[in-house]
Symmetry: C2
Subunit: 462 residues, 2 copies
């Protein structure tokens, strides 16, 4: 139970302590916790340890938990009564390549003035270190102002979100009591069109597959063998080129069989958002939606499944030219999935399709990189309306229920493993360049994000 | 004019001095003269300087000549009368990646006993340092035994053969007097089926093209943009997949219009060679010819044009997974050309075809990597029969006139720029792994190659 005067005092304290909050975020951003590259495992552990110390400073009973991959961080604190809320974030970040395109060291975060206001720039500023710190800073202000938190709060940070979260579900299963709560809060999403606060109610799932095609036992000279020997790059590109038809639809068998069509009510709600797709694409140098030709851009992004190539390599790729027929070629392919689609069935059908296209003398190896279903949130729970009101107050405009093209598998896991609903609130912007060079987070997002969580906690504990 | 006794003395001297010859070859192989990578430019110069010193030791008037790229080496020596012969070789080598597949340092050459005899293993052992040294060692034996050479000999070594020879034709044009001779000798080809000495009378040309497709102004998150934003990797693979039809024929417009069909007499001669394609492909783990379905393997390799992908890269290619839509994707594509085909016309048609397939919001950039016509040799010149007899004597079996799938553009340039015929004699084997890890050269090839050149020089000067 938080009265208006207390909330005001908490908000004022947040405003007054912004410089220190930025300094703390910079300290976390300096740790290069790239989870997908084993070379950075010690840095991932350093980030986890840093968070434990922060939580302990805030009065949390917190510690790391080892996993076969990077450690989990779990802490709890707060009132003995009222709701129990579990906040989730991830302390790991994406790789930084191509490093040459960064204007500054990705792990030396600095404040930069831009025409749209000040930003903090560095890998993880927006995804997800800046976002997770909004919640910790809101807790810090409550703790400092009231000596406690307005609800029983658990925090849960993982370090494998950017690398398929292999340890997440097993950890949830073996630590169900530690993690159980009335509602999960997740801060890994954005403002709608960069200005409207939003609660994400629909997320795509993700299936990652690496395909390795091999042919000759070694690289061959394209003059001595070209014309007679099979080229694995040609085999691979032919397979990839066949994954879409001319209308942009994915050709994997049964891919669309279980896709749920968007309910009319939600389509109407999305249309009311007046999404500016020309601006959305224009900001990245594009003019035309490139997906399924019979869908609106917002439908493509939020409610339709995709198949994309995230990486391909084969043969000589350095400077100059090398007349080689490579022994092997590989591609990383991902599918974004929507409600109804079963990632395991799609994986099976995809692999069978690839195997069926394989010519004589070639072999294929598959490496799985995660498989998660899409999520739909239970927006009728009262907490969703309470959070919507808190966000509307803070941002001075009506907060929206939106979809998201991204995949946050943990939202689905909270439901299936721990039977908890999840609410996704976040403050990133489309131009934050997450997963790209020169990632940034607006200081306004950071500041109003902290204030937003303070208001949400006050509402949820009322 | 070399009499039989003199030739025998020269051959005996070659046999006696083999250990020193191997030591000299090892010294040259230790220089990492990778021409395609600018980082190795000083090493290319070091290899050129090494050759100049060797030539001067042999009594040649020799020096390096600077070019915009790597230096040329030219030297001359020998009798004032008799024919003037120009020997060509290249001192540059291919890159060594993937380095992990080498069993030893590629630039620390060592002698290794194998079931097929002793070999010297290292980058360039066969292509082309070992081969070019066969000629120098033959000259050395003549010089030591007779105090001169049996003909007027020029040597011409370039350092850009593995990177498209950009300086070659301009250098030939401005140094025509320096290089002019009655016949060019080239040692960059192999024994037929690893045992029959051969003179190559037909070589494919080579057109190298690098295609760079770009779309969004930066790498994008495949969740936030996937389905609406265009993916340059998908655009590139669709283009590459369209370069061949289902029967293996290249689809570039007018590609086959000027292809000369193989003369019946040559087809008959090739059939008489009893080429063992099962063994040829089996040695590299393949079982079926993968080219045009209505051609024999030897026709595919020696007389039919090809289009191959030599390298492709786009997006995230490191360990793990990154859900990125890359801003750019690139491929290195080469065409092997046969007599009649014009590389410049094919380049134009290829580029027009790619541009025509480019979707909205994508751009394409082309980087040219060399364009050379195929060559047919004037086998009716007496020198061809003299060399064939010399080779037959040395190897104890009838030497063959053969084709080659590789491209040695210099052979064509000698004709078009300097109006000289070229004769290609070489001693490499199909299993030499040129352009691949663990390249080697049989010591038997090296030894009998030196002896072969001694016999050829004796015949040509008779």
């Amino acid at each position: 139970m938080t009265d208006a005067a207390t909330l005001n005092a908490v908000l004022n304290r947040i405003d007054a302590n912004m410089p220190q909050a930025v300094t703390r975020l910079q300290a976390l951003l300096r740790i290069p916790s790239i989870s997908t590259d084993p070379a950075f495992a010690p840095n991932c552990r350093a980030a986890a340890d840093w968070l434990v110390r922060e939580l302990q400073d805030l009065g949390f009973d917190a510690q790391t938990y080892d996993t076969p991959g990077h450690p989990m961080v779990v802490g709890q604190a707060g009132a003995d009564q009222g709701p129990c809320l579990l906040f989730y974030g991830h302390y790991d970040v994406q790789p930084v390549d191509p490093l040459a395109l960064w204007h500054n060291d990705p792990f030396d975060p600095h404040i930069e003035e831009t025409p749209d206001g000040a930003v903090i720039r560095g890998r993880g500023a927006s995804d997800d270190k800046g976002q997770l710190m909004t919640f910790l800073e809101a807790c810090r202000a409550f703790q400092a102002e009231t000596g406690t938190l307005p609800a029983r709060i658990k925090v849960f940070f993982e370090g494998e979100e950017e690398s398929g979260s292999p340890s997440l579900v097993p950890f949830m299963g073996t630590h169900a009591d530690l993690l159980s709560a009335d509602l999960a809060l997740i801060c890994d999403t954005g403002l709608f069109q960069g200005k409207t606060p939003a609660i994400v109610t629909m997320l795509r799932g993700l299936l990652g597959e690496e395909v390795v095609i091999s042919g000759p036992t070694k690289d061959l000279h394209s003059g001595l063998y070209g014309g007679a020997a099979i080229n694995p790059v040609r085999v691979l590109v032919k397979i990839i080129a066949s994954l879409h038809d001319d209308t942009g639809r994915v050709t994997v068998p049964e891919f669309y069989d279980d896709v749920e069509e968007l309910p009319d009510a939600m389509r109407a709600q999305w249309q009311a958002l007046s999404f500016d797709h020309a601006d959305f694409l224009g900001k990245v140098g594009l003019s035309q939606p490139a997906g399924e030709q019979d869908r609106t851009p917002l439908e493509m992004l939020w409610s339709r499944p995709t198949c994309e190539v995230n990486g391909i390599i084969g043969g000589y790729t350095g400077d100059g030219f090398k007349t080689v027929l490579p022994a092997e070629a590989r591609a990383k392919i991902s599918f974004r999935l929507v409600p109804g689609q079963d990632p395991h069935a799609i994986r099976d059908n995809f692999r069978a399709m690839v195997r069926a296209m394989l010519p004589a003398d070639c072999r294929v190896e598959f490496l799985g990189h995660g498989a998660s279903r899409a999520s739909k949130m239970a927006t009728t729970a009262p907490a969703f309306e309470q959070a919507r009101q808190a966000l509307s107050e803070e941002w001075g405009c009506a907060a929206a229920f939106v979809g998201s093209g991204g995949s946050i598998p943990v939202a689905g896991h909270f439901k299936t493993v721990l039977d908890m609903d999840a609410m996704l609130v976040g403050f990133s912007k489309d131009d934050d360049q997450i997963h790209s060079p020169n990632e940034k987070y607006d200081l306004k997002s950071f500041h109003k994000g902290i204030r937003s969580w303070a208001r949400i906690l006050a509402r949820l504990s009322a």
